[in-house]
């Protein structure tokens, strides 16, 4: 059975979803989907171990070898991301039951868990596959279920947010489809590894350039990279709390993964950094994203929206790391994927707890929260500190790598701006801290902590923020190996390119 | 040219002519009811002629059976659709054009 791990990872939630619909009782559906998600998490842990010890795993679906069939190809990069996505899904799902019971009508709760499993399956499928068209199919599975998850919220704005996301997401997916089609016309294949081999022959055609542009723009729409981010704040603000926690922790990671996969594996580093001036575009957009989104975040009254804008800013950091194009830069991006999942998971999970007790999430609602819900408030602050990048938290680790990557390439200006951007994060986090600890609670404000089932996952995430901020061995070694394995082949390519 | 092919060619020609004349009626006639009249009748007969023409080309195969199925289906649904359409137009208060006056239905109630 061990040889089937790559596919089990994806089909467990994929088959779990219809099974869940047949089970129908919400409580059973919750337990069932938590069980499935936890299984997927365990499998991804085993997979990472397998890949770490034995190298890349290839699994031919239907027994047809690539490029004729579809294959799953697990290397360190996607094994690492599989672990992040399934892990965060499991932790958030663990604390989801009460929040869902409160925020979603009873007759729709089962559908909620079904959509959650589909979304999880879609994301895992995107990560695991080695076939470009299969990416499109699973992208749509995860997107459709994401629209559903967002629209299940009781807030009426969620409908509009979901529709906006649907339009943008479909345009993005169609752009990706156009890109894949153009690549297919030039190479005759859909398999990523095969594409990587055959694309260099035609790399100097306008078609391949356009294919790359369409795929990047399509993925960036999904990623909400500045200036294509307009849908994200609404979607995150109005979605049910646990959905926001899940999406913020995983969806952007998957999109960044696609960006990395297409840029470095399929098109190759040579193409994406030499033929296309990608680094300067990415670094520029990333910096603008950091500054503009952080500034907007400072002014928000709804703290969920503030943290959603902060997500746009954090995506900026990841893109800067990509744009640097060095092993260290890529490693910084990968580390930040992991760390950002932890800190956003913690922040939004804290908001789940707040919503459960207070029922609102604006600045007025959380006044004096430090006294009313001390544990949740402390967790929120820890997540915030991590977001700023205070030492001994995970946020510090990835910022450190990012700054040193910029320095090592002599881009001191970029490094300086990254540090300055963190100061903006200090401003919006400090503002919330001030309100929570130094402002008086409103009269008759509800007090008391959220139930233990919500607090435990939250504390787990917070501890993760601190633990991996101190003991950095696991993420650092995995990301280092993943980044260099992605770029070392490309480096050999550089030598070939330099020789001609 | 075998006799079968000649028959089929004649039938196809008749069908083409009918279909074309129906279309001209559809374009040139003044109001919905007359257009329906032009299109409805020629449509069915033209389709029958063309499909019959194709049947002579098909010979005794599965294709012939399918052609007959299509023919039956069109014969059943074409007039039904026309009938329902006319009825719906009438019910909506659209008046047929009579003795040269402007059709009441043109951009009238039916278009709203």
């Amino acid at each position: 059975m061990l040889s089937h791990l790559p596919i089990l990872q994806v089909i467990l939630p994929l088959l779990g979803a219809p099974a869940c619909l047949i089970l129908w009782r919400p409580r059973i559906a919750w337990a069932f989907s938590f069980f499935i998600s936890a299984l997927a998490f365990i499998i991804s842990g085993l997979l990472l171990k397998q890949v770490w010890q034995g190298g890349e795993i290839v699994y031919a679906l239907g027994g047809w070898e690539a490029p004729w069939g579809i294959e799953y190809r697990i290397d360190l990069l996607n094994a690492f991301l599989l672990l992040i996505v399934s892990g965060l899904s499991t932790v958030v799902l663990a604390g989801a039951r009460q929040s869902v019971a409160r925020e979603i009508p009873a007759e729709k709760q089962t559908l909620f868990y079904v959509a959650w499993l589909l979304c999880l399956a879609g994301q895992l499928g995107i990560l695991a596959t080695g076939d470009a068209f299969n990416v499109f199919v699973f992208l749509e599975i995860s997107s459709l279920s994401t629209y559903t998850l967002i629209s299940l919220s009781r807030q009426r704005e969620a409908l509009w947010a979901a529709f906006q996301y649907l339009i943008v997401g479909t345009i993005g997916a169609t752009f990706v489809l156009i890109g894949i089609g153009l690549m297919y016309m030039m190479t005759g294949t859909l398999n990523m590894a095969d594409l990587a081999q055959r694309l260099p022959e035609v790399a100097d055609t306008r078609t391949v350039f356009a294919a790359y542009a369409f795929i990047i723009v399509g993925v960036c729409l999904k990623l909400a990279l500045f200036p294509l981010h307009a849908w994200l704040p609404n979607a995150y603000t109005f979605a049910p709390s646990v959905v926001t926690a899940f999406l913020a922790a995983t969806a952007t990671k998957v999109a960044v993964y696609l960006l990395i996969r297409f840029s470095f594996t399929v098109f190759g580093k040579d193409f994406s950094t030499f033929d296309v001036p990608l680094h300067s575009i990415f670094i520029g957009l990333g910096l603008i994203a950091v500054f503009s989104a952080s500034t907007v975040a400072i002014m928000q009254r709804n703290i969920k929206r503030a943290i959603a804008y902060s997500s746009v800013a954090q995506i900026g950091y990841m893109i800067i790391g990509l744009g640097l194009g060095s092993v260290l830069g890529l490693q910084a991006t990968l580390l930040h994927l992991f760390n950002h999942a932890l800190m956003k998971g913690a922040l939004f999970m804290a908001m789940v707890a707040m919503m459960l007790r207070i029922g609102g999430i604006t600045v007025d609602d959380i006044a004096g929260l430090g006294k009313r819900m001390p544990v949740t408030a402390l967790a929120f602050v820890t997540g915030g500190l991590s977001l700023i990048g205070v030492p001994l938290t995970v946020g510090f680790v990835s910022k450190w790598y990012l700054v040193s990557a910029a320095f090592s390439q002599g881009m001191w200006l970029v490094a300086l701006l990254v540090v300055l951007g963190s100061l903006l994060a200090v401003m919006y986090i400090w503002r919330l801290v001030e309100i929570m600890y130094f402002r008086e609670s409103p009269e008759q404000a509800p007090r008391g902590e959220a139930p233990l089932t919500v607090l435990l996952p939250l504390l787990l995430l917070v501890l993760g923020n601190i633990y991996f901020g101190i003991d950095t061995r696991l993420p650092v070694s995995v990301t280092e190996a993943a980044a260099s394995s992605l770029l070392v082949e490309a480096y050999q390519g550089v030598q070939v390119g330099g020789a001609k | 040219m075998s006799p079968l092919e000649i028959i089929s060619a004649v039938l196809l020609a008749i069908g083409s002519f009918l279909v074309l004349s129906g279309a001209i009626g559809l374009l040139r006639f003044p109001d919905v009811y007359s257009r329906m009249h032009a299109a409805g009748i020629t449509d069915t007969l033209g389709a029958v002629a063309i499909l019959l023409g194709l049947m002579f080309l098909a010979g005794w195969t599965l294709v012939l059976a399918k052609l007959i199925m299509i023919l039956l289906f069109l014969l059943l649904t074409g007039p039904t659709a026309s009938h329902t359409l006319g009825k719906a137009a009438w019910k909506s208060g659209l008046q047929p054009l009579t003795d040269g006056r402007e059709p009441a239905g043109d951009s009238g109630k039916g278009a709203e």
């Binding site: 089909i11 239907g62 047809w64 004729w68 399956a121 629209y147 005759g188 055959r198 | -």
Partner: protein, 330 residues
């Protein structure tokens, strides 16, 4: 002749698209979009893509306009405002289009048999599928076996859609036994239409079964069969009311069937796995690989058909239920 067909179909497509863009009557726009679907299906036939034409006709000209009509009945028929931000939009569109046209300059000529798309992966499907899978329709071979996992994903997408529609409109789906005030939907004054449709329902279902099981030899397959089967029920619903349709087949059953189809597909893969082969490797299903492939394809196509038919009916029921709710309110 092919050139003439090609050019005239393409120019009609462009005309239709422009017609849709300028029309402010949404009913006309939807009608034109159904014509657009028919036209593109025709184009697919001239491009030899018979299976795609089949699907596009039943989706682009069939189900999707029907759903849009139902939506229009609820949200109203006319656009209220002229185009907004027309100029920037035009600029963006022209830019994207120009980029695409530039991109096409380097692709192999249309119809070129030596293009990479025709010479790299595809020849195996064309030359070997007859012996490896043993059925004449290559599209079905590739769809169900070589790229069977994509199709599994496709069924899941359909399933995801119904989960979404139920989550959004499900509350209007009456539980069994609730009395429905759907006189409006019954069309009792269309006697001829009702009789003819009633005659047609059974043959249409029969045809759906034919499409389901003939997919190995000609155009067709599970998805198309599911849509046609659902179409028969939908036409019945349109003329005899939702209540009558639900007496035939109720919502809970449909929901279970929608899930069952996906599970059926997946279980074929799991059985292959238990027999020691990879997921969805149908060779494992029988002693002789070609037989195994054949069994596998039949079962998964059945799974697709069941899910698609159930999903399409559920979606239409949800829309029709919303229509009744609304007329009841007003």
């Amino acid at each position: 002749m092919e050139l003439l067909l090609d050019i005239s179909l393409l120019s009609m497509l462009v005309a239709t698209a422009i017609g849709i863009a300028v029309s402010r009557d949404l009913l006309a726009a939807v009608m034109l979009s159904s014509i657009y679907g028919l036209l593109s299906a025709n184009f697919f036939v001239t491009m030899d893509a018979v299976d795609v034409a089949f699907t596009e006709a039943s989706v682009g000209a069939g189900i999707s306009p029907l759903l849009m009509f139902a939506t229009l009945a609820i949200v109203g028929r006319f656009e209220r405002y002229p185009h907004q931000r027309a100029l920037p939009a035009l600029l963006l569109v022209v830019l994207t289009g120009a980029m695409l046209i530039l991109a096409t300059l380097d692709i192999p000529a249309f119809g070129d048999p030596n293009a990479p798309a025709q010479t790299h992966v595809a020849p195996r499907f064309i030359n070997e599928s007859g012996t490896e899978i043993g059925i004449p329709n290559m599209v079905t071979s590739v769809l169900a076996s070589y790229r069977g996992f994509d199709t599994f994903g496709e069924v899941t997408v359909v399933f995801a859609a119904v989960v979404g529609v139920l989550a959004l409109l499900g509350s209007s789906l009456p539980a069994a036994g609730r009395k429905l005030p759907d006189t409006l939907l019954q069309a009792s004054n269309h006697r001829i239409l009702r009789i003819v449709s009633k005659i047609l329902v059974a043959p249409i279902m029969l045809f759906a079964l034919y499409v389901q099981f003939h997919g190995d030899y000609g155009p067709g397959g599970g998805f198309q069969a599911g849509v046609i089967f659902a179409a028969a029920i939908i036409i019945y619903t349109m003329l005899f009311g939702l209540e009558a349709a639900m007496k035939v087949i109720n919502v809970t059953v449909l929901r279970v069937l929608a899930a069952f189809g996906v599970l059926l597909y997946g279980s074929v893969g799991l059985v292959a796995m238990l027999n020691g082969k990879n997921f969805l490797d149908y060779d494992a299903l029988a002693a002789d690989p070609v037989h195994g492939q054949h069994y596998g394809i039949i079962v998964i196509e059945l799974g697709v058909g069941i899910t698609v038919a159930a999903v399409m009916m559920l979606i239409y029921f949800a829309f029709a239920g919303r229509l009744i709710d609304r007329s009841h309110k007003s």
